[in-house]
């Protein structure tokens, strides 16, 4: 239909409620428009939740990250100056929160070597990687050894390595964007990813 007469019916509800692009949405939210804020959140919250859940493997923790992240966004949105993309700004907040929690967990993990499993308390050294992984019965059914091995490697990574790998491999983010989100250089993110792939290759290379 080439330049035909067009009637655009602007019905209310959700269909075409507002024609705001993201920056006007942000500006409106900055001015206190709750509805705009909510729409802004909805553009991103699914992927934020997915990332947090994937990294932390806990619904409660993921929910905490979600709340804290978007409450911070709400509180600090007036400081957003459009000098980076909103995605980058948001991911700085989210990745920081996740990194903090991952690091705390590492500390906890090193503090106690005995952990609870479905089969009773066991020494951590006997278990591979994330204990949640080893005690999840469904996981054992579906996956078998490869999955356990993957979880073991993921569990051994530093918080930062885990984050970079998650963002690159599972989220498909470019290293440059990852560097921006983590407040580091693309090169540093690349080195980090490089280390992880060496570890993965050693652990999985003979397995596939």
């Amino acid at each position: 239909m080439l330049n035909g007469d067009t009637r655009v019916a602007l019905t209310g509800q959700n269909r075409l409620a507002v024609n705001m692009d993201e920056s006007s949405l942000i500006r409106a939210a900055q001015a206190g428009d709750q509805d705009a804020f909510e729409r802004l959140v909805r553009g991103y919250d699914q992927s934020v939740l997915k990332l947090a859940y994937s990294l932390l493997r806990s619904a409660d923790d993921a929910q905490d990250i979600y709340q804290e992240a978007f409450l911070r966004v709400h509180k600090n949105l007036h400081q957003f100056r459009f000098d980076c993309s909103f995605h980058t700004w948001l991911y700085r907040i989210v990745t920081n929160l996740c990194l903090d929690l991952l690091r705390k967990r590492k500390v906890r993990k090193e503090e106690s070597s005995v952990v609870d499993t479905a089969e009773g308390p066991r020494d951590r050294a006997e278990l591979t990687g994330d204990t949640r992984a080893s005690i999840d019965p469904q996981r054992a059914l579906v996956s078998g050894q490869l999955r356990q091995r993957i979880d073991a490697v993921l569990g051994e990574l530093t918080a930062r390595e885990r984050m970079v790998f998650e963002l690159r491999h599972f989220e498909g983010m470019r290293l440059r964007a990852i560097g921006e989100a983590l407040g580091t250089s693309e090169e540093a993110a690349k080195n980090c990813l490089f280390r992880v792939t060496q570890k993965m290759r050693v652990a999985l290379g003979d397995f596939v």
């Binding site: 009637r7 019905t11 209310g12 978007f70 709400h74």
Partner: protein, 302 residues
Amino acid sequence: MKLACDSVRENLSLLLYGELSFTEEEAVQAHLQGCTECRAALDTERAWHDGLALATVEPPADLLVKCRQQLRANLPEPVPQNWLQRLWRGLDLNLNLRSLAKPAMALGLVAVGYLGARLPNLTEAPQETAAAHVRYVEADAAGNVRIVLDETKPRIVSGRTDDPQVRRWLLAAAREANDPGLRAETVALLQGGVEAVDVRRALVSALESDPNPGVRLKAIEGLRRHAGERDTRQALMRVLTADENPGIRTQAIDLLTESGPRSLDAQMVGALQQLMRREENGYVRQRCEKALRLANASAEIF
């Protein structure tokens, strides 16, 4: 630059991620062409990359809804801006008029005003006002009630697709509408205006980011006449390896190679070869091989 097998193998993952620098990738590719062992190592590398999919987890289905509800409850109330908003702030803003109007009318003391013409006459049947949302309600000691409604009234904008106002709404709908059917219709309408830069940008953006394959197909159709342009070609090349829908990947190959061998520059050949490395769909592979033959380039690198 001649590379040793070890250093090639260390970099296979970065190659698969497309994160090697241009010269690094050239060197690795050159080595792979002449080294069977490293080609086998690349297969292994790709296999464990694929195997990692086993480790992906999805959040429980109801978690997102829970999170959204909790967030809404935790957000501070908007700062009151006038006397009206100071009252009844705790009231659920989505409260439907129908549930409110009944007891209020029973009192026979309903007074409605404010927001001038935007407010409906309350003698209207409740069914017709059901879509309106009550934003603020205020009652005084004498039992008078004042209700402020947020109304969404349909409005018609009409004109030709090149009319700036119509265009603005179409661009917004292509990007924002929740209903994928509406986005697809809008993108189809925008195809006619593809000469305009903002329309082309909207089509490229729909092609690269719309979650619905039907919308992406409309967008790629719209870009056909501009497949020779740099920005469009760049986008199409990204789509080649990024789009999960084989139909769209095939379309992208067609558009990129439509103008014959002269459209197959080095970058294009690189993109196709990259696709050959990743592509699992037999049909798409075939098309890709055909295009590479056209360019006299090897599809057999791996």
